[in-house]
Symmetry: C2
Subunit: 110 residues, 2 copies
Amino acid sequence: MKPYQHPTFDQITLTGLLHALSDPVRLNFVQCLATKMCEQPCGAIPTPVAKSTMSHHLRVLREAGIVRIRTEGTQSLTSLRLAEIEAKFPGVLEAVLKAAEAEKPLEQHS
Amino acid sequence: MKPYQHPTFDQITLTGLLHALSDPVRLNFVQCLATKMCEQPCGAIPTPVAKSTMSHHLRVLREAGIVRIRTEGTQSLTSLRLAEIEAKFPGVLEAVLKAAEAEKPLEQHS
């Protein structure tokens, strides 16, 4: 399996970040990932969409610089690039995740 | 001229807000509008796109609940719905505008 490509810190843009977070499925995924302290197998986070659709969403999140994905054996492990995003756009992701939680708490997600 | 339709406070969604801000032209427009203390004629804010394209962008911003547009005679006047957005999604727009300014200060815009 080819290693995943990721944008460098300098390549991450604010509009790219906002676009990636502007989809309910992707925002929900990032919300779930943010509650975990370590990288997660992609299948460990429940999503309401087909696997192929989720692959697309993960690609958008990876290309926007929000998640890092690496393979280990046959598994893909995903983690948030929280420190980098916070360093680049202070307060943005935190405020978005707080607003997302206020609008639709994770417990209520199907 | 028909009055413009606007979403109510309850109809404004976080993903709609993020989507509307995820375009560089729209984000730049909101950045400019945020520096003004009062509503602006649409033509008063310089944009790098054709008038018809800007009409589309303004519609996206209006339908997302970010701007309010009203007509006065033959003029359309635009204002940010800053207080409502802050009440609904505390800190989000402020953090986004700060990050936008850090990434691309308004002075550097063409």
